[in-house]
């Protein structure tokens, strides 16, 4: 087919492209492009009207320049002209340009929409196709609004051509993905389901994608698709390889459609017995076919065949109800584990991970352990080895934990840097989860630190300490083992931390042995001191003061160390403070007080390890890949779970690096002392400066809070020391807030610790993630903190931002309300007057309505009021209310769990200087909260 010769060669375009290709350097290319851009600009601006051909040529050149990676900021208008042309060739280029270079210019979108509308109405299938492609490619909100109602009609109309139906189905799918709220379910849904029976396999293919996406959100509505999909699938898998003509791909009948149908079935639980029998037959046939000799040697044949097979296995795993099928699937994957195609080995490992979590196939998966371990050792591709690690993790249980952990540790010695941290996490979790013998656990973690100390994250070593402290049968062993490990000439800093902590608590358990006498222990630790970073040194100082209590005989040695200039005059304020305080404590406190203050840490509350909790949240036990997320959560999670039982509020969530680990630091004394005792008061005297609890709200913060309800940026708080600015953005149920802390003085702030606190009521509804900021803020400097926000469900309160820092020796502690309010998750909805009142009536249940009548606090200016309603997040609907003085708005509150439609109406009464505000939503609490928030604004 001499296809390319057809149509219109755009000679100028070809010359231009070859010019660009002949450019010897980037500079030459840019020069040539700029020349061309200038030329095109002048042509577009020129007096002479361009003919369609030239316009098309220039638009094409612009497109080419854009695709080379340069910015294009003009030509949109010309493209719109082209797509409104009657000439197919011009129209096509116009559509292409718009599809690639979408511009949110609403004026332009209106023109485009107009052209699309004409083409959709043209009844010319080629034009309709172009228009539908364009909607699917651009898919902006405005387009969705304009066409979401129209496309279902085209899709189910009896006289629509097959090819247009296909485009319409996928176009609708795209619209639904981007703006689900704009695609109304209706009569058309049942007719769409019946497209599964269509004669044209192309239509079925497109429709199956659409139905799958819709069924995920509206399973009830599309339930009938299950039996239709099963019978379609059954017809395909039993057909001879030639039956489906062009839909057979390398001897595999309709592989794309088969995969899509199997995906659709994964939206539902196993079907009713009648349909189920037929489905089981299909799945068996697919499994049987895998054993048949290939019909072609081409890789396309085996890929297509196996694509269907893997999707069938996914469905079997999803149903998780037919032990026979599960075991067969497992055996099939077992064969693939040793296949010569790397791709198949990779997929088999991946798929087996999910099989391992089924009770029916877990044992069958375990039989492949040797092959998987071998893969870990011999695979040349790191992504395949990663899958092997995942699978080992997933198949691990009490019976094989020792072997798997040993193999993973082995592999860790040579593992790629990119996956070490993940392996460390997995080993740590497995060692803890399946430890029968905690000495094995301690050995494993110490090995981890030895082999890959850099990759051992804080939660891993926090956890080993928690476990040692909680289990007294392992404490002596742990002390002995860390003592021995510390003998190594070079040991990782994490080991020093663990060693320091454990010896500080349990060094006495091994002090009877002359080889590990108190002095030897102390000297051993102190020999590492100078090589360590500040946080570790701080921890070691705490160990030393613990030693003073454990081993009175070396008290003077320790005091000498504390007294040395390098400690007492240390440049780091944290170290200096500890040295001074500990020295003072060891000098003035009696033995009794020392014993009370420095007594052994109480057991940690038994709760799930934060790493494990994190992993369990993930879908499969073997799919921990998102380390980033773990890191993100680390600061908030770890501080919570590593706190000792008798924790004082001040220590919660202090992300500053020099702050204390496990509460054994800056405020360790207030932490571990039994609070109201006689010794307590003494301590308060000695350490009168220690951090206090969260401060009450700063004055005026409520006013500022209210100002942020209708806006996202501005100054939240300011006093003579500190200014806090905010910048935030929200989209659907997610948001991000940038908090800027400005130091207005010329002196450093030290230990600067901002903490976002959600009350217990608020916590389940609002997820906030923050990263710690630098604890030092220079005079005149500004630091920034990002808060990632996820609204899980509707909420009432606002989170509190607590800031603690030291300024010139005094401790500052202040709290402000953080303006994260429910209305931030509004998406405006435009609707006609008729729609509005229809919905208004639907929400007539007295619980759904909340009304407030109040006196105006500000001058009653209509423009300002409008701006506030828009700022509040809802759409401002003009010409809806019969009384033009009234304001009405509509929008949808997006939360992770639900979406709540909201309607509001504000009626001003100028004479009385009063407002009446009415909120109607489907949820009482939401109406209530929105009404409260908005009433404050006028």
């Amino acid at each position: 087919m001499p296809a390319v010769s057809k149509g219109d060669g755009m000679r100028g375009l070809a010359v231009f492209i070859s010019d660009i290709r002949n450019c010897k350097s980037k500079e030459a290319e840019i020069k040539r492009i700029n020349k061309e851009l200038a030329n095109i600009r002048s042509k577009f601006k020129g007096d002479k009207a361009l003919d369609g051909y030239s316009k098309k040529k220039y638009v094409c050149k612009l497109l080419f320049i854009f695709l080379l990676g340069h910015d294009i900021d003009f030509g949109h208008m010309e493209a719109v002209n082209l797509l409104s042309s009657n000439r197919y060739t011009e129209k096509q280029i116009g559509y292409l340009f718009i599809s690639v270079l979408v511009n949110s210019n609403s004026e332009l979108i209106r023109l485009i929409n107009n052209a699309i509308k004409n083409d959709l109405a043209s009844r010319n299938p080629t034009f309709m196709g172009l228009a539908l492609h364009c909607i699917a490619n651009v898919c902006s909100r405005e387009m969705a609004e304009a066409f979401a109602g129209e496309i279902p009609k085209i899709l189910v109309a009896g006289d629509t051509m097959d090819s247009v139906k296909q485009s319409a189905a996928l176009c609708l799918l795209r619209l639904y993905r981007t703006s689900p709220d704009l695609v109304p379910m209706g009569d058309w849904t049942s007719r769409v389901v019946h497209l599964l029976n269509d004669q044209h396999l192309g239509v079925v293919t497109a429709a199956t994608s659409l139905i799958t996406t819709l069924a995920q959100k509206n399973p009830e509505e599309f339930k009938t698709s299950v039996s239709l999909a099963v019978s379609r699938l059954s017809r395909i898998v039993t057909s001879a390889s030639t039956d489906l003509q062009d839909y057979t791909y390398y001897f595999v009948p309709a592989p794309w459609l088969s995969v899509k149908l199997l995906r659709l079935l994964q939206c539902y639980p196993p079907p009713d017995p009648a349909v189920r029998g037929r489905l089981t037959e299909c799945l068996e046939t697919i499994l049987n076919k895998a054993q048949e000799p290939p019909k072609s040697k081409k890789v396309q044949h085996s890929n297509a065949k196996n694509a269907v097979l893997f999707e069938a296995i996914s469905l079997i795993i999803h149903h998780d109800s037919e032990p026979n099928l599960l075991v067969r699937a497992c055996n099939q994957l077992g064969q693939f584990l040793q296949h010569r195609e790397t791709n198949l080995r990779y997929l088999a490992l991946e798929s087996m991970c999910t099989l391992a979590s089924s009770e029916f196939s877990h044992e069958a998966v375990k039989t492949h352990i040797e092959t998987v371990i071998n893969a870990l050792k011999t695979e040349r591709d790191v992504s395949v080895r990663q899958r092997a690690v995942d699978l080992l993790y997933a198949m691990c249980d009490r019976s094989n934990a020792q072997q798997i952990v040993a193999e993973m540790l082995n592999y860790l010695e040579t593992a790629d840097y990119s996956i070490r941290e993940e392996i460390v996490l997995k080993v740590a979790i497995l060692a803890e989860k399946y430890a029968v013998d905690y000495t094995w656990y301690v050995d494993t973690i110490l090995n981890l630190i030895r082999i890959a100390g850099d990759y051992v994250s804080e939660e891993v070593w926090y956890r080993v300490i928690q476990i040692v402290i909680n289990r007294d049968d392992v404490q002596g062993y742990a002390a002995k083992t860390v003592f021995e490990a510390l003998q190594a000439p070079a040991c990782h800093e994490n080991l020093v931390k663990v060693g320091g902590y454990i010896l500080g608590e349990f060094g006495n358990l091994i002090a009877g042995d002359p080889r590990s006498s108190p002095l030897i222990q102390f000297n051993l630790l102190h020999s590492k001191f100078h090589l360590c970073s500040v946080p570790t040194r701080a921890l070691l100082l705490s160990t030393y003061i613990k030693f003073v209590n454990l081993f009175p005989e070396i008290k003077t040695t320790i005091q000498d160390v504390l007294r040395s200039d390098s400690q007492l005059k240390n440049a780091d304020v944290e170290l200096q403070q500890r040295a001074v305080e500990y020295l003072r404590l060891s000098t003035i406190a009696s033995t009794d007080i020392l014993a009370t203050v420095l007594e052994e840490m109480p057991p940690f509350p038994e709760r799930e390890s934060s790493i494990l909790a994190k992993l369990k949240k993930k879908k499969g036990p073997g799919t921990v890949t998102d380390l980033e997320e773990i890191k993100k959560e680390r600061s908030s999670d770890m501080n919570g779970s590593a706190e000792p039982a008798s924790v004082n509020a001040s220590a919660v969530s202090t992300p500053s690096p020099s702050a204390d680990l496990l509460g054994l630091g800056a405020a360790p004394l207030t932490n571990s002392a039994p609070p109201p005792s006689s010794s307590g008061s003494l301590l308060v005297d000695v350490f009168s400066d220690s951090a206090s609890a969260v401060a009450p709200l700063a004055p005026g913060s409520d006013d500022n809070f209210a100002r942020f309800v209708c806006k996202n940026n501005g100054v939240l708080f300011e006093n003579q020391l500190l200014q806090i600015g905010l910048k935030s953005e929200f989209r659907q149920n997610l948001g991000r807030m940038f908090i800027f802390y400005g130091n207005k003085t010329s002196t450093q702030f030290l230990n600067f610790t901002p903490t976002v606190i959600c009350s217990d009521d608020l916590q389940p509804s609002l997820n906030l993630q923050t990263k710690p900021v630098d604890p030092t803020v220079d005079g005149g400097a500004q630091v920034q903190q990002v808060v990632n926000i996820e609204c899980v469900s509707d909420f009432m309160e606002a989170p509190i931002l607590n800031i603690q820092f030291r300024y010139g020796g005094t401790f500052q502690n202040l709290s402000v309300k953080l303006p994260i309010t429910l209305n931030k998750f509004f998406q405006p909805t435009e609707m006609s007057s008729q729609d509005f009142f229809q919905r208004w009536k639907q929400l007539s249940n007295p619980k759904q309505e909340v009304q407030n009548i109040f006196k105006a606090k500000h001058p009653m200016d209509a423009e300002i009021t409008k701006a506030k309603i828009i700022g509040f997040g809802s759409a401002l609907l003009e010409e809806v209310d019969p009384n033009p003085a009234n304001f009405v708005g509509a929008g949808i509150i997006h939360t992770k769990t639900t979406q709540i439609g909201c309607l509001l109406r504000l009626e001003p009464n100028l004479q009385a200087q009063m407002y009446r505000l009415t909120l109607r939503t489907s949820k009482e609490a939401v109406s209530q909260r929105l009404c409260e928030l908005l009433s404050e604004q006028f």
């Binding site: 087919m1 001499p2 296809a3 390319v4 010769s5 057809k6 149509g7 219109d8 060669g9 070809a14 010359v15 070859s18 290709r21 002949n22 497109l63 000439r87 197919y88 060739t89 292409l96 690639v100 080629t126 196709g129 539908l132 492609h133 699917a136 898919c139 902006s140 296909q166 485009s167 996928l170 176009c171 799918l173 795209r174 981007t178 192309g202 293919t205 497109a206 994608s209 062009d246 839909y247 791909y249 592989p255 794309w256 459609l257 995906r263 081409k298 890789v299 396309q300 890929n303 297509a304 694509a307 893997f310 790397t342 791709n343 997929l347 040349r380 591709d381 992504s383 890949t625 998102d626």
Partner: protein
């Protein structure tokens, strides 16, 4: 599918198709990172990799890499065959397609892709039906453009430097070869850039060197 990228061994982007809304900046960043990642991989490695929270499926045809990003539940193998089917479509349309065809007729490559995939989903898997749609469009084009010159000619400046005698490898031919012996048979020379200088097409669609 979230997006599809075609790029050369030199890392030059030849086609990009995005099925999720992203800013230009993000697109550029993703492209840069992904091109680097994929080019760094060795020939025998597996065609799938995890990248951010997506799965990347890629395959090399002669000098061109075809690279798709799919989501967690999507099927890797079928995506690999989506790529292959697209190459077949290009091949059938251009007649032994090579990278140059895609460079000089990039708009056609987009049109064909739109007929095959829409919104990131397979729209039509039948080769015949996709090409029929494109052909109809071409006919429509021709009838409207009867006065215009027919046939693409690469610029005359291209023909003067006919000395170099390298025919750019065609994509599908490559796929067959690499399958046959399981290894790479042709290395594309960096000088490939100049291949335009001797290569032209005459109107009946056959290819010859001049």
């Amino acid at each position: 599918m979230q997006f599809m990228l075609l790029f050369s061994r030199q890392g030059k982007l030849r086609l990009q198709k995005w099925y999720v809304p992203l800013s230009d900046k993000e697109k550029k960043k993703i492209t840069r990172e992904l091109v680097q990642t994929v080019l760094a991989r060795k020939p025998k490695m597996c065609s799938f990799l995890e990248w951010r929270d997506l799965k990347i499926v890629y395959k090399r045809y002669a000098s061109l890499y075809f690279c798709c990003a799919i989501e967690d539940q999507d099927n890797e193998l079928i995506t690999l065959e989506i790529i292959h089917r697209y190459v077949e479509l290009l091949d059938k349309y251009f007649g032994s397609v090579c990278e140059l065809d895609i460079i000089f007729n990039f708009e056609k490559a987009y049109f064909i892709l739109d007929e095959f995939l829409l919104g990131g989903e397979v729209q039509e898997t039948s080769k015949k039906n996709v090409l029929k749609a494109i052909e109809q469009a071409d006919l429509l084009q021709e009838s409207q453009m009867s006065s215009s010159k027919s046939g693409i000619e690469y610029p005359s400046s291209c023909r003067t430097r006919a000395a170099l005698k390298v025919i750019p490898p065609t994509l599908l031919h490559w796929a067959m070869m690499s399958e046959a012996d399981g290894d790479m048979a042709i290395e594309v020379e960096p000088s490939h850039q100049y291949s335009i200088t001797f290569y032209c097409r005459i109107t009946d669609g056959n290819r010859r060197a001049v």
